[in-house]
Every structure is written in C-alpha cells, then in structure tokens.
Symmetry: C2
Subunit: 294 residues, 2 copies
Amino acid sequence: MAVRSVERAKAAGGGSRPAERVAQRVEDQSPKRVSEPAVEGVTETLATTENDTRLLSFDELRAALRAVGEERYHHKHPFHLMMHEGRLSRGQLQVWALNRYYYQSIIPIKDSIILSRRPDPVFRRAWRKRVVDHDGDTTSEGGIKRWLKLAEATGLNANQVRSGRGILPATRFAVNEYLNIVRNRSLLEAVASSLTELFSRDLISLRMEKLRQHYPWLAGGLDYFEARLTQAPEDAKFAVNYVHDHAKTRAEQELAIQALRDKCDILWAQLDALYFAYVQPGWPPPGAFRIEAS
Amino acid sequence: MAVRSVERAKAAGGGSRPAERVAQRVEDQSPKRVSEPAVEGVTETLATTENDTRLLSFDELRAALRAVGEERYHHKHPFHLMMHEGRLSRGQLQVWALNRYYYQSIIPIKDSIILSRRPDPVFRRAWRKRVVDHDGDTTSEGGIKRWLKLAEATGLNANQVRSGRGILPATRFAVNEYLNIVRNRSLLEAVASSLTELFSRDLISLRMEKLRQHYPWLAGGLDYFEARLTQAPEDAKFAVNYVHDHAKTRAEQELAIQALRDKCDILWAQLDALYFAYVQPGWPPPGAFRIEAS
C-alpha cells in the first residue's frame, strides 16, 4: 500500500511554473527523446521517504497538502495569469464561465455521492452544508444560481449555459473524473479530493480584485466569489480535520495527498483545454462554441 | 426521448475541418462574443428531422453513422496530419505511443464490462473475440503487447509505458469517460460507441504507409496495425448489425448515433491534449513526460 501510494506519487510526477513551461516550449521539428518525468517538490519529498512509514502529524499533513497546492493548483495556470493581467477578451471570459458552469453544476452531485457513502448522520449533517451552499434554500439562492449570474454578466444566456451546449468535451471528461474519484476510491480519498478549498480563498480574493480592475462590466456578477470567501475555508477546515482523524496509516495519508494531487490535475486540465481551444492554437473541437469577432 | 436525443445531437453541435480551424484561429486580444454552436453536417440532418420518428433503414443508419465519422473521427486531427506528413519528431511519436497505450490498455476492460452486461451467451461468445484480440491467447500475443512493441520501437521502455507514469491527466480523463459510457448508458449505446471501428481501417492503412515512409525506424513496430486491418472491420460489421437489430425506435437509433459522436470526441480530445502539451503551445502539465532535445 505504501509502495502503491509512492508509485502513484511518482506517476503524478513533478511540476513546473508556467514561466518555465513557456521557456521549455517544444519546437515542432527538432528530434526529441522522452525522459522520465522530473520528480521535484512534494513528490520528491514523498519519493525520498519511500521507506518512511511514520504517521505525519497534523501540522506535517497540512504542510504536505499545502505543498501539493503550491505545485499544482491552477492559480498558476497561464489562462488564469492572462485573466489576472486583463488579457482575456470578453469571449474568452464567456467560454470560461460557460465551461466552468459544468464543473459548478456537478459539485452538489459529487457531495451527494459523498453523503451517500457515510452511514454516520453527524458527518452527513456537517457535509450537507456543501449541497445547500450550491443548491440554495429558502434564504439563499446558492452557488449554481450565482455562477449563472456571472455567466450572464459575461453576456451569455442562462438557459444556454444550463443546457451545457457547446462546452468542450475535455471539460466534461475532466469533471466526470471528479465523480469517478468520489464514487470509486475510499471515502477518505473522496473527502481529501475536496481540499483544493485550502487554496481557493487566496485565488478568489485575487480574482475578484483583478476582475473588478480589468473587466468592470463583470462587477455585478461576482456574488458567487463573495460567498465562497467564507464558505470554502469552513469546508476546508472540516475536511483537513477529517483526513487527519481518518487516515490511520502513512499509506492512507499518502493516498489522501494523491487524491488532492489528482483533483488539482482535474482543475488544471480544464484550463489547458480552454487555452488550446480559445487562446493558442485556438482550435475548438467539433461541436464546441465558437468565439466570433464582435 | 426523441427530443432528448436531438437535444444531445445539438449539444454535440457541428464541426469543421482542421484547415478551417486554423483559419478561425482565435486572436488573443480582440473582443469576442460567443454564439450558438454552428449546427452543420449530420447534426443539421438530425436537427431538421426533429419530428421525424421514422425508423432508419439499415442503409440509412449505416450512412448516418458514417456521416458522424466523416465529421468528427480523428483522421482529420492536426496531430494526425502532422504524423502523416512526416512532421512529428521522435519525441512526439513517443508521447503519442505512451499516451495511446493507456487507451489500448482499457479496451479489453471496456469490452469485459460489455460482456458483463449481456445475459445472452451467444452475444458474449461473439463479443469475447475482442478481449482475446487485445489480451492474446496461446496462439497470439494480443494487441496490448503489440502496442508495447510499437512504443519500444519509438525508444521507450516497456515497463515505463505499462506503468502509465507521465501520461497526460487529460488522456486518463478522456479514456475513463469511455468506461463511464459503457457502464452507465444502455447496452445499445455501449455497443454503438465501438463503431469508430467503421473508420479505423482506412486510417490505419494510411498510417502504416506514412509511418513506413517518414519514420522507417518504426517499421519493426507495426504489428498492431497489421492485425487491426482485419480485426476492426469484422468487429464493426457485428456491431452495426447489433445496433440495427436492437434499436427499435428512431429515438434509440439517435442515441446510438450520439454514442458514436461522443466516442469520436474521446479520441479527438486525446490528440488535442497531446498537441497542447507537445506541439503548441507545448506546455505539458505538472507531472507529465517532458520531451528533451536529443
């Protein structure tokens, strides 16, 4: 089990900053060879502790989770960097809002799967908050409705967004993998995969500032982010405690860390697909939305 | 049901040739707006027959399936065009073989899921051939082993390929969606999703010719394709007959056609991800294989 988790950590491999990626841009014609992936950062730490079966303390576990985010969370993705520098067109913000809606729409579904897997009503009462946060109740419209308002602020029609017409197949595949993870892995890993919420507050704060600065016409559509500023840290706190309390061996801790790494990949892949289709080379696949010059 | 299938056909939308895509390349800075997806080709045909509930004849059904391939099968993907024009480097062929191995490796798993869903032993005896074709038996090494030989011919180590280390997360997400389809949709749709085999013979013939011409050092690794030249048409013939015999309504026929469209998207998305990571802009995500200048 320990070997398996370390193997998976290796499989997930190292990472690099977008700036380094730009520097490493592949030239089309020159002969190449493929090497083993660079194993750096947190994965290096894991790889070198292959025989270390010592249980991580709460602080060590939290630090290991944070190191995953530092390395792989999508705050460093080139698409987000363009967004924060004001370099996205309105059309590019539209396809971002449209595709990301599919992700938003499955969040309460994945949380309902998690609810369905835990016999303990105390856990379910706590986790249920997430479904309410997204689906709403009599006092709150909920995150899905708020994301629709953001999409409308970009100029999209809400029905069109809700229908999912024109989203990238790659968006659907990446998001559905999130459902696969919470269905098919241990409940510990399912809970751990939510821990990107450890990192989302900082990204959302920055994003709200930059959206207001560069795209003032979007300012009326930011309620979703406003709500997440308080919701996400509450959820992350609960989930970190859960992972700490329920990962009884180092191998289980490593599986939880890997689940977070895989979740980061799901977020990252969505932005890769947007960038490919709508920035460079700018080739939306058959059936996807086309941005037209206004 | 009919409305649902037409809706899904619309969702899948139109398509365009790579050449058109290049022409439609998105410029980063200009303001854009998002329009409804262009609905053309076969989807146009379906959309305009929304109220047509007439069952398609065998020939009409086959023609509708072939039209899906003409529009969305990955024979027209820019990555394949580069391959056939001799413009891929050895490293780019390596990452193609490496990532595609993951697809190859799940084929007998998805066929085993299909086997598990059909109580009829006559069906299972026929479909079992596919598992044997890929996993091998005492007389044949099987397709997975043959693909490993291809990967080795590109210069990769077989164990490294088998481990899946360094494959693109987007490859895993797209391929896992194929498993989701055969698990979660009707058996009719699961069978129909295999029908890209209607188109694979022509692509494989062309590919073998072009690989021998442009990359003669690969010639020893082409057994996989040689075997598929006869296996794929046999399988496609069985599956087309099955879909014709078991789709009892036009709505079911449309669901089968949509399953083939979705399968085409799965193949296309794998090449989009390869192109993004290793051609242009050439940004492999954290943990993925890096092609190094030799």
